[in-house]
């Protein structure tokens, strides 16, 4: 049944754990509306013939429908629309909530290509390699205009925006190759902004990852030549540490928990911070990125808005590396509540 409908509607293969659920909702909606609209159309034609005007002087009788019939016509469609809404909403929430055990891949869209960076090593252009049967979370941002990351076989589409991170997770079922398309018009090369997800068997993926790391290591071993422009050195955490040093982040931010001109980076990731306007925020990837691009907008309470914007000064992969570096700075001590800002607020007495 599923396969028959999929072929009838010319849908692509179902290659992720979402695909089947989304298609089933699609089939439910389309079959119901098809059946009901056919019935309405046939009834209309039948009534046209049955109640046609038979003489010039014929008058139309005034008909009052019973209340229960009017109620039926309201409640039945309402029931179906609400049912579809709740099924769709549950599926939406599921898609928006990455499982905690998912592996991260950074995605950067730019005119007109996709760049992928793995926290533990390799970078790739237009080819995303993932192991089958593993939850993968994509942390996506754009370097220029709005793009949209679309894999039809996974039933997965999410806008990729400049200056902020969006995330999307999936679990690819079958090893294979699936096309990535850009689904938001982004200029002259929009139609050729294509990539590929290569879903590998878990063992093949590990082998590939290991070979990539060996490749990186051997490149680092050799003496740098003129042709080695910006080789990707080490993993994202190390890259982030280097970027932070180059950009002078450590002049204001400490990594050992001490208070300086800016908040410390130790345990910053997912810390609950109170801003100077009283709002409580969660320091997630999106907040960290916003703080680099537009630092004066959301300043942690107790600090001055003195940080310059790094928009245009650091590239997408460098932002990803910095975020990954900040995420790696975790102390083992269990902390409760916000640690930054004045240690205690002065007590107001009358």
């Amino acid at each position: 049944m599923n396969e028959l409908l999929r072929r009838l509607l010319f849908l692509p293969d179902q290659a992720s754990t979402f695909a089947r659920d989304i298609d089933q909702l699609h089939f439910f909606v389309i079959l119901t509306t098809f059946a009901v609209s056919t019935a309405v159309g046939l009834t209309a034609i039948f009534f046209f013939i049955l109640y046609r005007r038979r003489s010039d002087t014929q008058t139309t009788p005034h008909i009052e429908p019973p209340v229960w019939m009017e109620a039926l016509f309201v409640i039945v469609p309402l029931f179906f629309f609400l049912l579809w809404f709740f099924i769709g909403f549950a599926e939406f929430v599921r898609q928006q909530t990455p499982p905690s055990d998912s592996m991260d891949v950074y995605v950067m869209g730019k005119k007109w290509m996709w760049k992928f960076a793995y926290p533990d090593g390799p970078n790739a252009i237009n080819v995303l390699r993932v192991p089958a049967g593993r939850n993968v979370r994509l942390l996506m941002t754009s370097r220029d205009v709005i793009h949209s990351f679309y894999v039809p076989e996974f039933r997965m589409k999410k806008d990729v925006l400049p200056g902020r991170y969006t995330d999307q997770w999936f679990n690819a079922v079958e090893p294979g190759r699936y096309q990535i398309l850009c689904a938001e018009y982004c200029g002259a090369g929009h139609s050729i902004m294509r990539g590929e997800v290569i879903v590998m068997r878990p063992q093949d993926y590990e082998d590939w990852l290991a070979s990539q790391k060996r490749g990186l290591a051997s490149r680092q071993d050799g003496a740098p030549t003129l042709f080695d422009f910006a080789p990707p050195l080490g993993n994202l955490v190390e890259q982030g540490k280097r970027v932070a040093a180059e950009q002078g982040c450590f002049k204001c931010h400490s990594t050992d928990g001490t208070r300086h001109i800016g908040p410390t980076w130790l345990d910053l990731y997912h810390r609950r911070e109170r801003l100077n306007d009283g709002k409580l925020i969660d320091a997630d990837e999106a907040y960290l990125t916003r703080s680099m691009m537009d630092p004066a907008q959301e300043v942690v309470d107790g600090f001055q808005p003195v940080m310059p914007s790094f928009e245009g000064k650091i590239s997408g992969p460098e932002v990803a590396a910095l975020v990954e570096y900040i995420k790696s700075l975790q102390s083992d001590a269990v902390r409760t509540g916000p640690s930054e800002g004045p240690a205690y607020a002065p007590v107001r007495t009358r």
Binding site: R143, D144, V145, Y185, G187, G312
Partner: protein
């Protein structure tokens, strides 16, 4: 509203008004009309002309898609063409069609009015529509907008055709 006795007597005696089609047959009698039905018909003709213009753009787009890759035109011309198609269809056909053509013709009849409240302004709105359509099409063909009718930023902002300074250097290179 209930009519008073003299009113209904007078209305009953009025001969039927001449059809809006026979009330003057010269071109000027149409172009200078204050009849809501005639203005509605002129709007209908104008939006149908806009619809055909948009349809020609659409057919050209589909012809280009007969074959992948550069065929008939390059990517930039294609983008400009679908922008033209979108803007003509949305702003010159879809939005004015129902209220201007059918609204003008039918609405005064439905509420029992003799005409719209300001017949001369009603006629002026038709000429404003023509002027606006001419400016919009000239602007797009001359400027070469390639942003799609939604004009999403930041894509539209970085498009050379739409930035105010023309060939602005890219700040994010």
């Amino acid at each position: 509203m209930r009519l008073s006795e003299p009113d209904s007597a007078r209305l009953a005696g009025t001969p039927p008004a001449p059809s809006y089609l026979t009330d003057g047959t010269t071109v000027m009698s149409w172009l200078n009309t204050r009849d809501h039905k005639r203005v509605g018909v002129m709007f209908l003709i104008a939006v149908i002309a806009a619809f055909f213009l948009g349809a020609i753009f659409a057919l050209t787009l589909r012809m280009k898609l007969l074959q992948p890759g550069p065929f008939l035109m390059d990517a930039l011309s294609y983008n400009r063409l679908f922008t033209l198609h979108g803007i003509v269809m949305i702003f010159l056909f879809l939005i004015p069609s129902i209220p201007s053509a059918f609204g003008n013709f039918v609405l005064p009849l439905m509420i029992g009015a003799r005409d719209v409240a300001f017949p001369r302004i009603n006629l002026a709105s038709f000429y404003l529509y023509l002027a606006g359509a001419a400016i919009a099409i000239y602007g797009m063909v001359h400027g070469g907008a390639d942003t799609g009718w939604t004009f999403y930023t930041p894509s539209s902002r970085s498009s050379s055709a739409c930035s105010s300074s023309g060939s602005r250097p890219s700040s994010r290179a």
